[in-house]
């Protein structure tokens, strides 16, 4: 609820003149369209990443291409948008490509990573790439926690060192790419992308 209010505030801030009021009338349509677009993009990236042959020996080691969309939404739109996008994407991807099992993993990773990124970004003290690195690390931490619970084996924690490091590397790559994308994305399209 609180998240939604933030969204309303953002869109009502645009309407000042008559022509802009017109734009506001269509804002809910453009809101839905742009979020739909971003969710679709996140889904495609999920799918694309799944097509890359697995050459890592450790389960859970991945690049996290979809975090590109989440990160850009976090910076250009709002935290609420990024969270919504993240949750809907996980739900849809799990239903289409995965199963309940993979959904639990994705949710734990996605939510923990989102919270870590939000916290660092809100602190206003860190660059985007660092925020992304924290996201990568905490995504994997979330997945390990689920693995320990689901498998009933604390030995799943033995993957933590490797996944911790790969999270740093993946987060750095995604952070770099996000920075490049944001530079090229016109500022004024920020509200609707």
């Amino acid at each position: 609820m609180m998240l939604l209010r933030g969204e309303e505030r953002q869109s009502s801030g645009t309407g000042k003149t008559g022509s802009e009021n017109c734009r506001r009338d269509s804002s809910s349509a453009s809101w839905i369209a742009s979020r739909g677009l971003l969710i679709a993009l996140a889904m495609i990236l999920s799918w694309a990443e799944a097509q890359i042959p697995v050459f890592f020996a450790v389960p859970g080691m991945k690049l996290g291409l979809t975090n590109l969309v989440v990160l850009i939404a976090l910076y250009r739109l709002s935290a609420a948008d990024a969270l919504l996008l993240n949750l809907v994407r996980i739900l849809l991807v799990s239903l289409t490509f995965g199963n309940m099992f993979s959904m639990i993993y994705s949710l734990a990773g996605g939510i923990l990573s989102f919270l870590a990124m939000l916290f660092l970004k809100r602190s206003g003290r860190f660059r985007m790439i660092t925020v992304s690195i924290a996201g990568g690390v905490f995504h994997n931490v979330g997945q390990i926690i689920v693995a320990i619970v689901v498998l009933g084996s604390r030995y799943a924690a033995y993957y933590l060192p490797v996944l911790w490091m790969s999270g740093i590397a993946a987060g750095a790559v995604i952070g770099l790419i996000s920075g490049l994308v944001l530079q090229r994305l016109p500022r004024d399209s920020g509200r609707s992308i």
Partner: protein, 122 residues
């Protein structure tokens, strides 16, 4: 501004290195391989005895566990990604092979006394 970023990144790297250190402190050789499926104890095998057994995982999935020369490894699997096969062989206490799709965990434990009676039945 970069200073804070560098500090945090260094912190992450140091924590990662510490994790490696903590987890990689040399562990003694194990005595048996305990197999669990979906968190339930499934079987246990003496690492001193060479053998190959088929593990019935979740939803009809199977993993072929091979024990040879005191080391356990998965040599064949029905899962789509076969990550369990790529994890190589394990022999030290606490080491494990995990197959997520079949929910199979092979853990190396220290003592032979832990062997349950259904070791043969597996």
């Amino acid at each position: 501004m970069w200073k804070r970023d560098a500090a945090l990144l260094a912190g992450f790297l140091a924590a990662g290195a510490a994790l490696f250190f903590i987890f990689r402190i040399s562990r003694p050789e194990g005595a048996s391989a305990v197999v669990r499926v979906s968190g339930q104890q499934y079987a246990a095998y003496d690492l001193g005895e060479d053998r190959t057994v088929e593990i019935q995982g979740k939803d009809g999935g199977t993993n072929l566990l091979e024990i040879r020369g005191g080391k356990a490894s998965i040599t064949e699997a029905s899962c789509p990604d076969r990550l369990c096969m790529r994890q190589g062989s394990v022999s030290r206490q606490g080491e494990c092979i995990i197959c997520l799709p079949n929910e199979v965990v092979v853990e190396i434990t220290g003592t032979k006394e832990e062997l349950p009676y259904d070791a043969v039945a597996g």
